[in-house]
């Protein structure tokens, strides 16, 4: 499956003319970006770990307990979305209708994850955990918020992919690149859950 067979490709000639490359340029570019993003989150999480280990009392007094069980359920929803996207990728070359259905289901579960988290945030703010109430609150909203921002952007990209697929404009490489980003958002979350919530 090359770009040329799909028609419509925004890449210049240089990116298309090589037959011997191992990875599609769009996927390679996204992998490099994701590697850089991994270091970004590593910076956030290690900052949190350092502040947490240096504190006398943890969690800071007067702060609510983080919703561990509800978030475990939400984590499962996000992981399921990743699995659905994987299945959609497998169906892409064989059955476009099925691929489209699986993709919209993955988008739906991803959106559910973000909305569920928004509801959780409202409750936490109600219980007195805010951005400025303690370092726990600062790091919690920073790390989880930036992850949610990534999720929203990834969902928008998947919606765009879904629309392009319905119009028959989608190249394999574009789909693969967006999938890499969503796998990153999904795969990162259990680590954040482990480091921030537990």
């Amino acid at each position: 499956m090359t770009d040329l067979e799909q028609g419509q490709s925004p890449l210049p000639m240089a990116a298309q003319r090589r037959g011997d490359r191992a990875v599609d340029s769009r996927v390679l570019g996204m992998l490099i970006f994701v590697a850089s993003e991994t270091m970004f989150f590593a910076g956030l999480v290690s900052g949190f770990t350092i502040v947490k280990s240096g504190a006398m009392v943890w969690p800071p007094p007067g702060q609510p307990r983080l919703p561990i069980e509800e978030t475990a359920f939400n984590t499962a929803a996000l992981l399921a979305s990743g699995v659905l996207l994987f299945l959609a990728r497998r169906a892409f070359s064989r059955d476009r209708t099925r691929c489209s259905q699986l993709l919209i289901a993955a988008i739906g579960l991803g959106a559910f994850f973000v909305i569920f988290q928004g509801v959780e945030w409202l409750q936490l703010i109600h219980f007195g955990l805010t951005l400025t109430s303690s370092t726990l609150g600062s790091f919690f909203y920073l790390i989880v918020g930036i992850h949610a921002l990534h999720a929203v952007i990834a969902i928008a990209l998947m919606l765009r992919i879904w629309l392009r697929m319905r119009r028959g404009w989608l190249a394999e490489g574009q789909f693969a690149a967006v999938a890499v980003f969503w796998y990153f958002v999904v795969g990162l979350w259990p680590i954040l859950y482990l480091r921030v919530y537990l």
Partner: protein
């Protein structure tokens, strides 16, 4: 080879079909890698002039305290802080990086690996636009209430995070935003560089046929992209501390100010290699051409650079020896810091081995390349003193440190840039530069440079501390010989700045009246010299095929002493 084909004698658009471009789409919103390279390079040079003007203003204050500086006016203590802070920030992030990494990277990568453009040309254009925005944000910080940020280019909290200490509430935020935007721009550029070098090479070009400078820029981009994440994380936290009332770096509310130092230097040390490697690569291209000799130990150099890249992530805490880190930890970082001098020393030996027995032509680019090796060596050797934690406790934050890193950054950012610019000028603009004016500019830059920074080593050893506005407030540092040395240094700076006018005159004159450049004026092997000077849209009428490595000079039994990569036999 058809030599001496005048520029523009063929259809400059190559095989792409002719289409006229308006001024805006050709020069401003271009997606052509060569035009984006020019945009980066000239923006970087303009920022360099601003940075140099700042150096002029605060050096005048140090040599002649309280004097009305011509063209600037009176330097107040707050102005002084803003000037030194932004001089450092601009020279590293808005001069060294755009010119060496983005400028040369954009210009050279597609031309040297034989393709028509970057893989993601529109991301490339966006990269420059974000970079330009970041430069505007940084310069705008001088005009906001309170003035520009003055807490040193390392922006340690609490000076950077709390307005009651920095007194520049808006300037500090502008600084953080500008730096973060700039990193987003280079992240986009880096993705483009690596993807293009991996996926768009000309047929026949294997990994070990890639010119060293392309390898160096690719590895520098990888180092940048691997190290910048933690700093962006830190910058977001700093921005939150400044504007949203969080306490990430405030120990009185549970935060940790040392956290910023770790996040900053985890990026900051690899950053040295991010700008060093392209400059090393540029000299690695120039030296074999003007020594007419094969580059010595190509593969060894590559492995050395990989090793440097890995090691550069393990040395950052040598900037924090007096920040209260555990002395046992300091010992570990001393060892890794001394270790990293080994691969860099090896590179210097490789360059000397390449020169050994060559037939050397001392043209302007070659002079710059040789000066790079010689001057950087001084910077590297003085770094060994600072890497040892015992000596660093005495030297920390003195002018010895300042002279040391100027001896690394000046060869990188200035000497490396001029070496590459004079070498590729014929390819960029299709005209030769004036060699005599080039040499005058070279000596006029190198001699004053040494006159500036060698005395600063001496002052640093005598205990002169950095970031002091007026040494008359410290009688031990206001001795007559010290003040005379400061005056000498400032006069050397003025001489050096004056000689830069020769460079601008040379560029202006060569662009208008310079001799027309042939395709391959230096008789070089790499692919960029096989197309027109300057290359048209699409670079080649027919994209080249590669048959051999880039450094086959003076091969026995050949009539020509060079052997272009695209020549079948």
């Amino acid at each position: 080879m058809a030599e001496a084909v005048p520029a523009g004698s063929q259809d400059p658009h190559g095989g792409h079909g002719h289409h006229e471009q308006s001024f805006w789409s050709k020069y401003v919103f271009s997606t052509d890698h060569k035009m984006i390279a020019m945009q980066y390079m000239f923006t970087g040079m303009a920022m360099g002039m601003i940075g140099a003007f700042m150096a002029y203003a605060f050096r005048m204050q140090l040599a002649f305290p309280g004097m009305e500086v011509p063209l600037y006016g009176l330097v107040s203590p707050a102005n002084y802080n803003s000037l030194v802070t932004n001089h450092g920030t601009i020279m590293i992030f808005w001069v060294a990086m755009p010119v060496l990494l983005a400028g040369f990277g954009n210009f050279l990568i597609p031309l040297m690996i034989g393709c028509d453009d970057m893989v993601f040309p529109r991301i490339n254009r966006l990269s420059y636009q974000i970079f330009l925005l970041s430069a505007i944000v940084l310069l705008a910080s001088f005009f906001v209430p309170g003035g520009a940020f003055g807490g040193a280019w390392t922006a340690y909290p609490p000076l950077s995070s709390e307005a009651q200490y920095s007194l520049t509430p808006m300037g500090s935020s502008f600084w953080v935003v500008a730096v973060a935007l700039e990193f987003v721009a280079f992240l986009m550029g880096g993705i483009n560089f690596v993807t293009t070098a991996m996926n768009s090479r000309a047929p026949g070009m294997k990994m070990y046929d890639i010119p060293i400078v392309v390898w160096m820029i690719v590895i520098a981009s990888i180092l940048f992209m691997a190290s910048v994440g933690p700093l962006i994380a830190g910058a977001i936290m700093l921005f939150f501390d400044q504007n949203l009332g969080t306490a990430f770096y405030d120990p009185s509310r549970g935060g940790d100010p040392i956290l910023w130092q770790h996040l900053f230097w985890f990026f900051g040390h690899p950053e040295v290699y991010v700008v060093l490697l392209p400059a090393l690569g540029v000299t690695a291209e120039i030296i074999p051409v003007f020594a007419r000799k094969k580059f010595f130990a190509y593969k060894t150099v590559l492995y050395t650079v990989f090793a440097t890249g890995v090691l550069s992530f393990t040395v950052w805490a040598h900037h924090q020896f007096i920040a209260g880190i555990d002395p046992r930890m300091a010992n570990i970082f001393t060892v890794t810091t001394l270790l990293i001098s080994v691969p860099i020393a090896e590179m210097c030996f490789v360059y000397i081995a390449t020169l050994w027995g060559g037939s050397i032509t001392l043209s302007t680019p070659m002079l710059w390349a040789l000066a790079f090796v010689a001057e950087f060596l001084i910077g590297g050797v003085t770094g060994i003193f600072l890497g040892a934690s015992g000596a660093d406790i005495y030297m920390h934050d003195t002018y010895f440190v300042l002279a040391h890193f100027h001896y690394t950054f000046y060869p990188i950012a200035i000497v490396g840039t001029f070496a590459g610019f004079t070498f590729w000028f014929p390819k960029m603009f299709g005209r030769m530069m004036d060699d005599r004016l080039g040499k005058i500019h070279f000596w006029g830059s190198i001699i004053p440079f040494n006159c500036i920074f060698i005395p600063l080593f001496v002052l640093g050893m005598a205990g002169q501390h950095r970031r002091i506005f007026d040494f008359n407030a410290y009688p031990d540092l206001a001795l007559p010989w010290m003040q005379h040395t400061r005056e000498f240094v400032t006069i050397a700076l003025l001489v050096m700045l004056a000689f830069q006018l020769v460079f601008f005159y040379n560029v202006w004159k060569s662009l208008r009246k310079g001799e027309k450049a042939s395709k391959n004026p230096w008789k070089s092997n790499t692919l960029e010299w096989t197309t027109e000077s300057p290359p048209g849209h699409g670079n080649w009428a027919e994209l080249p095929t590669v048959y051999r490595g880039p450094y086959e000079y003076s091969v026995p039994d050949r009539e020509e002493d060079y052997w272009p990569q695209n020549q079948p036999s």
